[in-house]
């Protein structure tokens, strides 16, 4: 019986410990309504210009805080990397080029159409639609919850949004509405709540 109790304690500890692999700050499950609040925070970042400009539904990226169509007729191309002669990397290097005003990061390219967060009129999709899209493993690159968290935490092009470089006039590009840490926290909270989506 002691062995059974010890086993129970051990299993309980494992559950507690595996919980903290997701949420080091919270060891209790988030409520659905808290999760929806957290999702809104995540969504607010996703539809901010530094992110949504490359999650288009069209064959072109956007640029600027007003999210106008990217100049010089640059287009998506078959793999989201542009076309020969006019690739993303024809201008966007592996790091920001502040002296010339061109943002850069590792493997600069468009998110695939399956990960679009706007419609074909360049209007952001609703919170519900984006949420479903993000949690659909056939569309989100096969990411599960931990994959999504890791993506938001570590993916270089995601991190770029908080280090977006300067325009040619010296002005820093505007940042997303949350800090990266807040974004990661909100992601965790949402995941802890079971990744609920609004209706």
């Amino acid at each position: 019986m002691v062995r059974g109790l010890l086993l129970l304690l051990f299993v309980g500890a494992c559950i507690v410990m595996s919980r903290s692999a997701f949420s080091s700050n919270h060891f209790k499950r988030q409520s659905k309504s808290d999760g929806l609040v957290a999702w809104q925070q995540v969504y607010s970042v996703l539809i901010s210009p530094r992110c949504i400009n490359c999650h288009t539904a069209t064959n072109y990226p956007q640029q600027g805080d007003d999210r106008h169509r990217h100049f010089a007729n640059v287009i998506r191309g078959p793999e989201g990397k542009g076309v020969p002669g006019l690739n993303c990397v024809s201008c966007h290097q592996s790091a920001n080029a502040d002296s010339t005003g061109v943002p850069g990061g590792h493997n600069w390219h468009l998110a695939p159409l399956s990960m679009r967060w706007q419609d074909e009129d360049d209007q952001p999709l609703s919170s519900a639609v984006v949420c479903h899209s993000l949690t659909d493993r056939t569309r989100n690159g096969g990411l599960n919850a931990s994959g999504l968290l890791k993506h938001n935490e570590e993916e270089p092009l995601v991190l770029w949004a908080w280090n977006p470089g300067r325009r040619q006039n010296g002005a820093m590009r505007t940042l997303p509405p949350l800090t990266h840490a807040e974004f990661v926290t909100a992601t965790r909270q949402w995941i802890d709540a079971g990744m609920p989506c609004p209706r």
Binding site: F71, A72, N73, G170
Partner: protein, 704 residues
């Protein structure tokens, strides 16, 4: 009359070689080198229009020169290179071929005559017994002599007064498709434009210009600017109006970094802060009142007696346009105290030489003025006030002893002014019972870049207070309209303006050709037929191009659903052209599938050039309909700075196919650089009407 001949070393001249023989000094134009190369000097700058090939073709043909040995060279500033009709050295107004065709023929024929005379004398035969071909004189028997061997002797001969010109049936080059002489070098990176100039000891200057035209420097702080390594000097200097701050440095990027760190406090007090919206509102009001008279024909009250149902009143708006040549403005000057040298892609070399001299306190002859190739101009480098050389000279004067290349960044270039002015038109047309226009009352409102400047051409161009260049296209309409009342107002606005490729036709012909087609549509008549019926009997070139268009655009019947056709025609400096445009709407923009264009330019000296100028001119003219094809000012500041916000057509915006058909003619050649530009915008807008029923009276077409 003594002509100044500037003996330029040719670029490939090796040390130790005998200097090239000059034919008929003091005139320049032809150098025959001992190795057989023939250097022909072209009296106007090449900006892309093809004169660098066509003018040498004309001379080489009459001279019977071996074309494969011909090298073209840009002539420096000198009176001997003046346009024979205009009387000043210049390029513009599509006049090069028209005005220099006889001149270059004469030059070639005279050279040939002197070479033949020399050979004939040497062989003791008569010139009539000789013939020439490919830089060789052939005499009786098997005698022959190369031009290069005859040249030195020939150069000592008197220049003949009269020479026989070839019969056109003998032309070997003129009238043939000849590839550009400057083509290959422009494809391998070796061709040099003004901005590519590199001289020993050269410095670079960038300028901080006032944000509002005519503004001046109140004070500036150059401490941080001067701290950038490689900066030589920072100083204020005068502009034509206002003042600016120059940064002189070893290299472009150093100058740019320094200029970025410069803090200037600008004084924009008491000067007009021009604003496009405000100006359009003012122009619109002004257009309701008659201005200075350009044309008054027939009965000016006739229109008031035409029933309202038979009258239309239309208002048009055209914005400022930037030239925005691909090569941003740049030029260089070196001042040595008692002499100077300039390197400028100038449309008006002697004029600018004089302006340079004036700023430097020298006589024009003390300024050696080199003309360099220009990467496009469209009129931007044809400066009435010579502002560029004045600025470069002022900077060179301060720097002294070293050449300074003044470079405009793209933003500097686009914000520097000298735009095609904005215009508003108000037209009332009274239509007769036969559907033809009976009366035309038309007011044009827009700045003149000539009026009030005091330049020589003002007296020729401005009459009754009306600048011909602002109303051309309306004032010389080819249509028979019995009652015409055309007047114009030229407001004074604090925005520098200038000639822009096709000048007044760019907006006037839009008005004319959209209204004419509107009348044709009202009369339910085919637009080509309608125009032909309405043409003045003297407009024979218009008749020829419209008739040919009717034949060549036979595709216009049977267009697929969602496609429509529109038309326009124009004549610029005696070259007439007409086009039919097929378009559809794709993603909210006009997609042009094809353009068929016909042209009457007299004898087409180089059909390849005519075709390229027409294909290019039509593409250039499309800028006017692009959604970002306008320069706008807001409270004194130009809102555009680069091609992101002033976006001309890229390849996807330009027609996929443009077929050009030249009317066969032996009449004297006329120029083609500007003729095609005004026809595309009205044709596009006319086609859009046929497709959607919507009319467009304002350019650019921001949204359909």
């Amino acid at each position: 009359m003594v002509s100044l001949y500037l003996d330029l070393p040719t670029s490939a001249q090796e040390a130790g070689q005998a200097p090239p023989a000059k034919i008929f000094p003091p005139d320049a134009f032809i150098h025959i080198r001992p190795d057989g190369k023939i250097v022909i000097q072209v009296n106007r700058v090449e900006v892309g229009q093809g004169t660098h090939t066509a003018l040498p073709m004309i001379l080489a043909d009459e001279m019977d020169a071996d074309w494969s040995q011909v090298i073209a060279e840009l002539a420096p500033a000198a009176d001997v290179y003046k346009d024979p009709l205009i009387g000043v050295q210049w390029v513009g107004g599509s006049t090069a071929i028209a005005n220099s065709f006889p001149q270059y023929r004469q030059l070639g024929a005279r050279a040939r005559s002197m070479l033949v005379q020399t050979a004939a004398d040497g062989w003791r035969v008569k010139p009539e017994q000789c013939r020439t071909a490919s830089s060789i004189v052939y005499g009786p028997g098997n005698r022959s002599a190369r031009y290069s061997d005859l040249a030195n002797e020939a150069a000592r001969r008197p220049i003949p007064d009269k020479v026989a010109l070839k019969n056109p049936s003998e032309f070997k080059l003129i009238g043939k498709p000849v590839r550009r002489l400057d083509g290959r070098a422009k494809c391998d990176g070796s061709h040099k434009f003004a901005i590519d100039l590199d001289l020993p000891g050269m410095l670079i200057a960038l300028v901080a210009r006032p944000p509002v035209f005519s503004g001046k420097v109140r004070r500036f702080d150059d401490k941080e600017a001067r701290a950038v390594p490689g900066v030589r000097d920072v100083f204020e200097y005068p502009l034509v109006k206002g003042s600016a701050v120059a940064v002189v440095a070893d290299k472009f990027w150093i100058a740019k970094q320094a200029r970025d760190r410069l803090k200037v406090d600008w004084d924009s007090d008491g000067i007009e802060h021009a604003d496009s919206s405000r100006l359009f509102a003012q122009y619109k009001e002004l257009a309701k009142t008659p201005g200075g008279v350009a044309v008054k024909r027939g009965d000016e009250t006739a229109i008031d007696r035409i029933p309202e149902s038979q009258r239309i009143v239309v208002e048009f708006e055209f914005p400022y346009l930037a030239h925005a040549p691909m090569e941003p403005l740049s030029l260089a000057v070196r001042f040595d105290g008692d002499s100077a040298e300039a390197w400028v892609p100038a449309q008006l070399p002697t004029w600018e030489q004089a302006a340079t001299a004036e700023v430097l306190g020298l006589a024009p002859e003390q300024v050696k003025f080199n003309v360099l190739f220009a990467g496009g101009s469209f009129g931007r480098r044809g400066l009435v006030d010579s502002h560029l050389v004045r600025e470069a000279a002022a900077i060179a004067k301060r720097v002294r002893g070293r050449p300074v290349k003044l470079i405009f960044t793209r933003e500097d270039d686009m914000r520097s002014g000298y735009y095609r002015p904005m215009f508003a038109h108000r037209v009332e047309v009274g239509i007769g019972s036969d559907g033809a226009p009976l009366a035309w009352r038309h007011v044009v409102v827009g700045q003149s870049f000539v009026k009030g400047t005091g330049v020589a051409m003002e007296a020729v161009l401005v009459k009754n207070g009306v600048d011909k260049l602002a109303v051309e296209g309306s004032s010389d309409s080819p249509y028979d309209i019995p009652n015409v009342d055309l007047t114009a107002h030229h407001p004074t606005v604090n925005v520098p303006v200038l000639s822009h490729r096709s000048v007044g036709y760019g907006h006037n012909s839009f008005v004319r050709e959209t209204l004419i087609e509107e009348l044709a549509d009202r009369a339910k008549t085919d637009p080509i037929t309608y125009r032909l019926r309405l043409l003045n009997k003297d407009a024979y070139k218009f008749r020829a191009v419209l008739t040919l268009l009717n034949e060549k655009a036979s595709w216009r019947t049977g267009l697929p659903a969602g496609h429509a056709v529109g038309y326009a025609c124009n004549q610029y400096n005696n070259t007439a052209c007409a086009c039919a445009v097929e378009l559809s709407i794709v993603n909210g923009r006009p997609k042009i599938h094809r353009v068929t264009v016909t042209v009457h330019c007299g004898l087409a000296v180089n059909p390849l050039t005519v075709e390229s100028q027409f294909q290019g001119g039509i593409g250039f003219g499309l800028t006017q309909v692009m959604p970002r094809g306008a320069v706008t000012l807001k409270e004194g500041r130009v809102e555009q700075g680069n091609f992101d916000r002033y976006a001309p057509p890229y390849i996807a915006d330009a027609p996929t196919d443009i077929d050009v058909h030249i009317v066969q003619s032996t009449e004297p050649p006329t120029g083609v650089g500007e003729a095609p530009v005004p026809i595309i915008a009205p044709a596009v807008v006319n086609a859009l009407y046929h497709l959607t029923g919507k009319r467009y009276r304002s350019l650019p077409l921001v949204a359909l």
